[in-house]
């Protein structure tokens, strides 16, 4: 936990997270919701805002948004859509259909791994804009020679999740985003990739003396990773503290995080803010999810990552917020780990192998869970060295094999018996007198040369732990 960034000052952060929903089609039209295709192929009269076109709400988007609300412990409410009016070339209708004073999801919370509860004010549905590319200049609209617009993204469904200003440290902000991301992926609402823009985080940052009312906030945009979020908040907090300590005031404004200079820069001040002239979208009717619909969505909700991490950690006897547990649960491989351990696998080794070797394997790895279990047993019993076990696992992954013993045999990984290893150890001592002398004098790292020689002689089949034990035995006998 990082504590106060500047002693005597408290950080206050609220996060606004935009998430693209993983629907097949757009929020208000039948065009595909797909990333990465040629520009302007996923378009239609509604997407382009052609005269006469009308929006029709995507039911699947509503269900995904309801899942988000349920996962964040929100109330699901009867809601309406509003028009948010402003001119921008990638905004085809010159208004965005969003939710204003009656959002779908209200008043929830998210618990961080450290137990801190962060309030969630709302999570509402809205449509995404198109994407502008400014040609010439530095890539921003000012000073560019022209702009190209891709409307593939226009009308893609978004959920905007607005936290309360309950975050007090940089780590909490990062934890919030990580936990939220894990939830969104687990409930299949979004792939939530900050780097690809399917999850976008804006931070409202202010500082105050502990116990005082909230200070003036600045909104930080253009943060493209969790790491950048931490850097941006920290920079911004220091900037505000410096101003206040110099007797200046904070101006409420939107600031742009610049990754390369590590600073935030004024984008627009509050006085210049657009008047969005919100009014009820007359082309849509109120959305009133009935109890039956909400219950149907609720009953299809999976167990959330925090509970799964807790269950896995408890089962394996490792901390629930360890990196391996996070990773495995994130990838949806916790059920697989549990199955492998149930099949007799060595918990700690199963976890490590899944974390390290199954990054691309998805929730249902091709290697059967009992096969991985057998591998960890062979390794634990000394039939395979750690190096050999890794090698066997790679072969198992290639062939989706459940039989590590057969692979070990085919690779010639017969476990050497201790007497054969002892012969090799004695040859190594004879062949490396200098290293042996240093080792006997208590220089532990001199063992490296001896072990290396044994491994070379046995083509890596000797168990490193046995070699080390034999060397120690010889030294004790010698001394």
């Amino acid at each position: 936990m990082s504590e106060q960034i500047v002693p005597g000052w408290e950080l206050v952060v609220g996060l606004e997270v935009h998430v693209e929903l993983a629907t097949r089609t757009k929020l208000f039209s039948g065009s595909p919701n797909r990333f990465g295709d040629d520009a302007n192929v996923h378009i239609d009269p509604v997407t382009l805002g052609l005269p006469g076109a009308l929006p029709v709400l995507n039911e699947h988007a509503v269900e995904l948004a309801m899942r988000v609300g349920l996962a964040l412990n929100c109330r699901i409410e009867p809601c309406t859509f509003h028009r948010k009016n402003y001119f921008y070339p990638d905004m085809p209708k010159a208004y965005q259909i969003s939710q204003y004073d009656q959002p779908l999801n209200l008043d929830g919370f998210l618990d961080l791994p450290d137990g801190t509860r962060i309030g969630v004010e709302r999570a509402h549905l809205e449509e995404d804009t198109g994407k502008s590319t400014h040609v010439g200049g530095d890539g921003r609209i000012h000073g560019s020679e022209g702009s190209l617009i891709d409307f593939n993204r226009a009308g893609v469904p978004l959920v905007e999740i607005v936290s309360r200003p309950d975050i007090r440290t940089v780590d909490q902000a990062k934890d919030y985003v990580n936990e939220l991301r894990a939830i969104l992926v687990a409930i299949e609402a979004s792939d939530a990739k900050m780097e690809e823009g399917s999850m976008r985080v804006d931070a409202n940052v202010s500082v105050r003396r502990p116990g005082e009312p909230l200070g003036t906030r600045c909104e930080i945009k253009n943060v493209n990773s969790v790491r950048s979020l931490g850097r941006a908040i920290e920079y911004e907090a220091r900037r505000q503290v410096d101003l206040l300590e110099a007797g200046d005031r904070i101006r409420q404004e939107t600031r742009h995080w610049n990754e390369s200079d590590g600073r935030t820069h004024t984008l627009r001040v509050k006085e210049d803010a657009d008047d969005y002239r919100y009014f009820l979208e007359p082309d849509l009717v109120p959305l009133v999810p009935d109890r039956e619909w909400i219950e149907r969505v609720r009953s299809a909700m999976p167990v959330l990552p925090a509970a799964r991490r807790a269950a896995l950690g408890a089962f394996l006897g490792v901390p629930a917020d360890s990196a391996a547990v996070w990773t495995v649960v994130d990838r949806g491989q916790d059920a697989y780990v549990l199955a492998s351990v149930d099949a007799g696998g060595v918990g700690e080794r199963v976890l490590v192998y899944v974390q390290q070797a199954f990054a691309e394997a998805g929730p249902n790895p091709a290697v059967p869970a009992d096969g991985l279990a057998r591998l960890t047993v062979m390794e634990r019993s000394g039939e395979l060295t750690a190096t050999q076990a890794k090698d066997v696992l790679a072969a198992m992954l290639e062939t989706a094999s459940a039989d590590p013993a057969a692979i070990a045999r085919s690779k010639g990984y017969e476990a050497m018996d201790t007497s054969a290893i002892a012969v090799a150890v004695d040859e190594a001592i004879a062949g490396e007198p200098a290293a042996w002398g240093k080792y006997c004098a208590g220089e532990e790292k001199a063992a490296g040369a001896l072990v290396g020689r044994v491994m070379k002689a046995t083509k890596g089949q000797a168990d490193g732990k046995v070699v080390t034990a034999l060397l120690q035995e010889r030294r004790t006998a010698n001394g």
């Binding site: 382009l48 009016n85 702009s147 002239r277």
Partner: protein, 474 residues
């Protein structure tokens, strides 16, 4: 000579006793002789119409049944999207734009066998009551070409009155079908909001806009409604119910119906107009209806509320005409300057006036005082109508306070023009159906229309009364 009706045309064409091509040529001949003077159309699609009529005749000869509008000529208001055919809203800003799709209404009419003869003139973006606010010049009233046909669907009303087409389609946001129907002496229907799909209707004020027919007879109007009404999944505000069946209502008479007279109706209608309204009440009473007095106190605030709600929605609906994706663009050094130059050149004065009023009404700090108040008035009017419809099945008012007026006579006075819609606007604010039926003549021997209003989905009773009035007017 009485124009041939849609019902008779379709029956003749389907039976083979009438050729769609001949019907079309009769209409095109009238267009050739009078269109230069009247200017009902922005575009006459005669080549496509001839091909279509020939195709219909071929298919009839081949034994195909072509639907209830087989061979019926139809004029479409030029704010309805037609695939590949220029659709302008009578605005420079859309000049040259060809929609890549047909409005749902156009699809349904085509499927019923209609022959489209052209796109009719309107007040720019349907903002006006005289069809003088068109970027392409005014339309004149076929009954007296020194006078306006009303608006905003003046081109459609004139096309029917001049028999350029057997029927026409218009849109009604505050009276834009009913008022021109009254001024041109034809039938005009504003259906219940949501009864006819708005998909492909270029929006003026989305919560008020509704598409409807212009016809010579009540029966034709009923037929058109049967074709164009019914649920459309592409319009979220479309009422989920099948197409209306209205022709079966027409012979039922008005015996026992309660016809409401609004005793606190805003004054201002000309004496000749009020005399026709009185005659209408008398005619219905003579046919067995009872006349009941009702009050709709908030009726009088309709105009005020409308001129906040409609411009507010229009300011948002018309923001997309920015020169980026379609229509006109005036080049400028940067995006904001391009928007300004394009919109300054592309929109006419009345459109700009309403965009500014609407933007203001929605602005932070003014919303509650203007747009918010207007929404409250909408609710008050709905409450008052609900009370009135507890006592009466339909309500009768004049459609327009005057007969057709002279071109230019309200020229520089937008408020005088706005008053034309005093009697028609309240139904749009509450989404109810209403229609105008010609009922004799008033001042200067020009036609007067009587407006029949009914509650939501009250079209069946509304058409019963309309048929009775039509009968009485003969």
């Amino acid at each position: 000579m009485t124009p041939r009706t849609a019902v008779d045309t379709a029956a003749g064409v389907r039976s083979g006793s009438l050729r769609a091509a001949d019907v079309l040529e009769e209409h095109l001949a009238r267009v050739a002789s009078r269109e230069a003077e009247i200017h009902a159309f922005n575009l006459v699609t005669q080549d496509a119409a001839r091909a279509r009529a020939a195709d219909i005749d071929r298919r009839v000869a081949a034994g195909e049944d072509l639907g209830p509008l087989a061979g019926v000529t139809i004029a479409l208001k030029d704010n309805l999207c037609t695939r590949g055919v220029p659709t302008t809203c009578s605005s420079r800003i859309l000049e040259g734009w060809k929609p890549p799709y047909d409005a749902s209404v156009v699809e349904r009419l085509a499927a019923a066998g209609a022959v489209f003869v052209g796109k009719t003139n309107l007040d720019e973006f349907a903002m006006g009551s005289s069809t003088e606010n068109s970027a392409f010049g005014p339309t004149r009233n076929p009954l007296d070409t020194s006078r306006v046909p009303g608006g905003s669907s003046g081109g459609s009303a004139a096309a029917v009155a001049a028999d350029f087409a057997t029927v026409a389609i218009g849109s009604d946001t505050g009276g834009s079908i009913r008022q021109p129907a009254a001024l041109c002496g034809v039938v005009g229907v504003k259906p219940t909001y949501g009864a006819v799909s708005r998909y492909g209707l270029i929006a003026f004020a989305s919560s008020l806009d509704q598409i409807g027919p212009f016809t010579h007879t009540v029966e034709d109007a009923a037929l058109l409604m049967e074709v164009i009404s019914g649920h459309d999944a592409r319009d979220s505000t479309s009422i989920p119910q099948p197409a209306m069946q209205l022709r079966q209502e027409l012979g039922k008479g008005v015996e026992g119906l309660r016809i409401g007279r609004i005793t606190d109706l805003p004054a201002g209608a000309d004496p000749g107009i009020m005399a026709r309204l009185d005659a209408a009440f008398a005619a219905l009473e003579a046919q067995g209806a009872s006349i009941v007095d009702v009050q709709v106190p908030a009726f009088t605030y309709g105009l005020t509320a409308y001129y906040l709600v409609a411009p507010a929605e229009a300011s948002s609906n018309l923001a997309r005409y920015d020169g980026v994706r379609f229509g006109m663009r005036v080049e400028a050094p940067d995006t904001n300057a391009m928007y300004s130059a394009t919109r300054a050149a592309g929109f006419g004065d009345e459109v700009k006036r309403r965009i500014m009023i609407g933007t203001y009404a929605l602005s932070a700090g003014y919303f509650d005082a203007y747009y918010g108040k207007a929404l409250k008035i909408r609710r008050l009017i709905a409450n008052d109508f609900a009370a009135a419809y507890a006592k009466a099945d339909v309500l009768l008012t004049p459609t327009s306070p005057t007969v057709a007026f002279e071109l230019g006579s309200k020229g520089d006075n937008p408020l005088a023009m706005y008053l034309c819609d005093t009697y028609t606007i309240p139904t749009n604010l509450v989404g109810h159906p209403a229609m105008s039926v010609p009922f004799g003549t008033a001042e200067l021997g020009l036609p007067a229309g009587v407006q029949i209003m009914a509650p939501t989905l009250g079209e069946p009773v509304m058409f019963r009364v309309a048929a009775a009035l039509e009968e009485a007017a003969k």
